[in-house]
Amino acid sequence: MRTVRIPSPFSLLIWAALWEVGGRGLQSDLLPPLSTVIGVAFDVVHLPSFWKALSETAQAFGAGMFLAIVLGIPMGVLMGLVGAVDKLANTWINIFVSAPLTAVVPALMPLMGIGQTTVVATVFLFAVWVITLDTQAGIRKVNGSLIDMSKVFGATAPQRFFKILLPGALPEILTGIRLGVVRGIKGVIIGQIIISLLGFGALFEEYLQAFAMASFWALILIVFALAFLFVEAIAAIERRVDFYASSR
């Protein structure tokens, strides 16, 4: 038996062709053919409403991710180093990492208002746990003899942290950040859609209300593509430290 390998750009083409043919066959406003959607996408990116949505989304996403990273990494380091902290926090973080946090967003609104703060909090809540857990796992992976080595050669505690622990845990930390970004993108869109007044959430709402399905699908395509490119960029950085991930 020979297995047939389908190169990934090719599989993308097949699905694009199916969409095109299906869209033409259906003759429905719900699902216009891909060519129409792509044409509309070029119009959509030229609208001021798109740029406003993109900038609102980028701000909320950036702020939420920033908080998730600067709080998540130290928390994970602490859990990796101090057994008591790990015991205290581990169960909770494992619950949060798998919990359907979407359910919490409506509860955030009365607390934080119907605005960017709630979206930032949603991004943070979606992203922070996986970053913490992966950082903890990375710290655990740092070879004990590297820690001994740093002590023997006189490293101070900050030197040990910045020169051994952090680079040693970097492969897992980057994986955590990449997975955090994936979750954070979901978080920002979910937060905006629940609030439905901000960013892409407001734009999706507007297109659906007006039954502008071609614009709706065009926006979906654009958001998916942006998310994919962003995550791939982080994966590329991750691959650069791959060479030592297996030999710690």
Binding site: L146, D148, M149, V152, F153, T156, P167, Y244
Partner: protein, 254 residues
Amino acid sequence: MDADPIVKVRDVSMRYENGTHALNAVTLDIPKGNLVTLLGPSGCGKTSLLKIIAGLLKPSSGEIRINDRVTHAPGPDRALVFQDFALMPWANMMRNVAFGLELRGVPRAERHRIAQKYISEVGLTGFEEKYPHELSGGMRQRAGLARALAVNADVLMMDEPFSSVDEQMRRKLQEDLLALLRVEKKTVIFVTHSIEEAVYLSDRIVLLSRHPGRVMRIVDTGIDHNAAPEDIRRDPRYLDTVDDIWTSLKGYLN
């Protein structure tokens, strides 16, 4: 007792929290400029003792004196070569070798100049930019040795340094170590479970028994380490000492 011991181990006992009694009242002198090997079966506490001397482990009782000063922590007077090399996989060989100097705040150009000298002494010139995973086991341990030499400590400690390389490389590394020590004049504390390695390298061998580890015998080999490698291995003192130690240890293996 020797005239000039640089390291004194006094009445050191080690009991781990899990109840393992690793060392019992070990007293030992390491004469300056000697290569002293801690030899014994696994479980005799030889690595524990080395880590205590290095300051990485706190003994349950007893003390370590370096140059007649009690020490509880690692210090610039001691450097360690690790069994698993302990090279930073994210740093190239040059940075690894210079790492002890980097931690001390020696400026980059200066520490690279110093590291270069030891890189050439251990025969690694030309591999400065390589990462550990691009080097063979033997080369990695040469880098570990160069790093320990670069900080210019009086006492060089080696924890089964050649046990993770193959037999031929091991012999080569042993010969190169002796050649290097003729130039560098260090006091070396060496840990191994290989009798041949211990006798080939050492001025003095400390035999440890196990459960708990205590000093069973101290053997001075009397071997002239300036002789050619093949002469040392054919020296009757080498062969007799290997036999003698094997007879001593055999009883403890059951």
